[in-house]
Amino acid sequence: MTGGNLPGLKGQPEVLNGPFTTRQLLRLDEALRLADSSTGLTFSIYVGDLDEPVRGHAERLHGQLADPPHSVLIAVSPNQRVLEIVTGGEARRRLPDRAAKLAALSMAAAFGGGDLAGGLVAGLSQLADHAGRH
C-alpha cells in the first residue's frame, strides 16, 4: 500500500491532492514494492519542497526512516527543480554514489520533460537493478 507519512497526510483524499494521479500512485506503489522485495533495502520517495540547504534537509528526512542504514531516500522538489538521493551506510555499499548519480541523471532527464512519476519509476528500477538481489 502506498500511503502518505507526513503530518496531515492521512487517508486517500490527502494523497490525491499530491502531485500524482491514482494510476501513477499505483505504478509507484508497484515499483517501490518490487524494489524493496528484490533488494532487501527500504526505498522511500519524498516529493515536496526542501528547505535550504537541500542536502541537509534530505538527510534529515532519511534519518527519520525506520532503519536509516538500510534505506534509500529519493527526495524530489519539483518547484526548486532539485533531486537528492540519500543512501544509508549499509545501502551505500551495494549502491555506490556513482550508481546513484547515474539514476539521478536519468530521473532528472524525465523530470525536465515534466514526467515526475515516470522518472521516479525509472530511477527506482535502475537503483534496484544496481543494488542486485539480497
Binding site: N5, D67, V86, G88
Partner: protein, 100 residues
Amino acid sequence: MSIIETTLIFAGIPVAVIALIVAASYAGGARRSKRYRPGRPFEFTPVWFLSVPEQVTETAKARELTGARRAELTAGAPVVTEWSGERTQPHVMGGASDRW
C-alpha cells in the same frame, strides 16, 4: 431569406461552434491542470511514500517483511555479508544530487 435568418445562419452558427470548442477545451483543461511543467509553479500537497507504511494492519505486518521487521529478524545474529568487515562507519551516508 430575411436579414435575421441570414445573420443567424452565417454568424450565429459559427459563433455557436466556436463557443462549443472553447467550452470543450476548458472542460478538458481543468482535469489536466495538475500537470507538472518545469519552471512553472506547481501546487500540491507534499507526499512521502514507503512501500509498507506503519499504518498497515497487524496481519499484513506479520506477513510482510518491512524494514523494521527485517531488523527484528536479524537482530540476534549479525548478518554476514561480504562487507561485514567494514562496519566501522555504518552511518556514513552517500547518494547523489541533480538539478534539471
